[in-house]
């Protein structure tokens, strides 16, 4: 008898969850409120979870105020990289003969371990990993190799 009472109590818990959630679902269905109640689902493509501010995701290359890349092709990041996924080729900057600039700056995000050492190594603050886009999936591995053009676009 005691176990029967406990079983009925259990039914009470699921019934409460059902009706509380159903109340919010009906309100949402008719666009009365946007509240979710106890529901924890995030409807992914339409609704995205907020990323944390210190999260390390895709890289980006920053530019100076006059539009040139901050990167001076010092190879610090490529040296620090444990996955060896950064490839840099330097050339002389024709307008500012004292400076170098990268001819190629390529990151293979398929190899990248997202450790952030390259960002810490950079003396010019040219490289950051704060593009808050978690979708980094492609059908082809080659499409994960990002060059200057893609790294400066975010």
């Amino acid at each position: 008898m005691r176990s029967f009472i406990e079983a009925v109590k259990g039914l009470g818990i699921t019934t409460r969850h059902f009706f509380v959630n159903m109340y919010y679902h009906i309100l949402r269905f008719f666009h009365i409120t946007g509240e979710k109640g106890e529901t924890v689902t995030i409807q992914y493509p339409e609704e995205k979870r907020e990323t944390f501010p210190r999260v390390r995701l895709r890289h980006r290359l920053l530019k100076r105020e006059d539009g040139r890349l901050r990167c001076v092709a010092c190879y610090m990041c490529a040296t620090a990289c444990p996955a060896q996924c950064i490839y840099i080729e330097a050339e002389e900057d024709p307008e500012h003969p004292l400076e170098k600039k990268p001819k190629h700056f390529v990151i293979d995000l398929g190899k990248c371990a997202y450790c952030g050492f390259c960002v810490e190594a950079c003396p010019e603050d040219a490289l950051r990993m704060d593009v808050h886009i978690p979708e980094l999936s492609e059908y082809n591995r080659n499409e994960l190799i990002y060059d200057i053009e893609e790294l400066t676009r975010w």
Partner: protein, 360 residues
Amino acid sequence: MEWAIAIAAKVVIIFTWALLTVLYITLLERKESAVIQDRIGANRASVLGLRLNGFFQPYADALKMFFKEDYIPPFVDKPFYLLAPVIALFFALVPVGAIPVADSITLFGKKFTLSVIGSNVGVVLILSLLSLAIYGVIFGGYGSRNKYGLLGGMRAAAQIISYEVALGLSIIGVLLVFPSLDLNEIVHMQNRYILGGWVPLWGIILQPLAAILFLIAGMAENKRVPFDLPEGESEIIGYFLEYSGMKFGMFFVGDFVEILLLAALFTTFFLGGYNFPWLFADGFHFPWGNSIALSPIAVRIVQFITFNIKLWIMIWFLLLVRWTYPRYRYDQLMDLGWKSLIPLSIFNIIITAGIMAVIK
């Protein structure tokens, strides 16, 4: 000739209704479990960009089931293996035809029952067909030639046979109160009112203990979650281990048809069947004096809608039970069946019979 047309029309209409209901039981199962567990549930299936919160999901599921690879393992015992899903579905679906969805109607000078099998021994028919359904389970387990499948089948057989006793005995209490084997008659007799015409004399009011026993035994017959030892999808693999594609789908649909059947039987025996309170053959007669006259057709429509509402409430409750409890252990299952349900149902019969004898 008219007789044949009437039968054909009833078969088509009632089984279409039953299968549509079953289709949406699968959706209700997914959505209700989701809502209970603080999720949203399937809502992606769309037709022309129209999602309607998963309204089309059952059709997508059915299509998927049809187009899955139907693999027959080389070692199976083919006749039994192929027969099992057909039996499981057939003997779940046929008893649905015996349930009256509305009162019998007189058309063109002839009386038609609104159930496919308008038998005057409907209760016995349903019980006997239900006990034949066990062959689907045993053949499935035996024909798979697989140790685990066979064990699942044996567990299912033991469980169904044990609980069928309690199921039948709990119905006897109802039959003592409503002395008829005709389901339509039983529903008719529940259209009486007590306490000055305010309280309908439904089975659940006269036989509350039988209602609980019938529900528990019925769920065990269904092989659903508190009693799902024969299936045990993830751990103690069950009798349909070797089945895939639509053959598995038939077992699956058979399960859901059994839910419909159990809910319909419970509605018929204990919730007054298609009776809307105070709705009689010629319309409403309220206890406060008013009455609304309705044509016979309109009465049947109201009865059919009432039956569906009661049915869905019962289905909702059965699914709620399924998503609330964990599984019984095998000895607990047998203890519950033989040491609690059967003695209680015999007790119920004795008490009911005694009271009926005193009243008479």
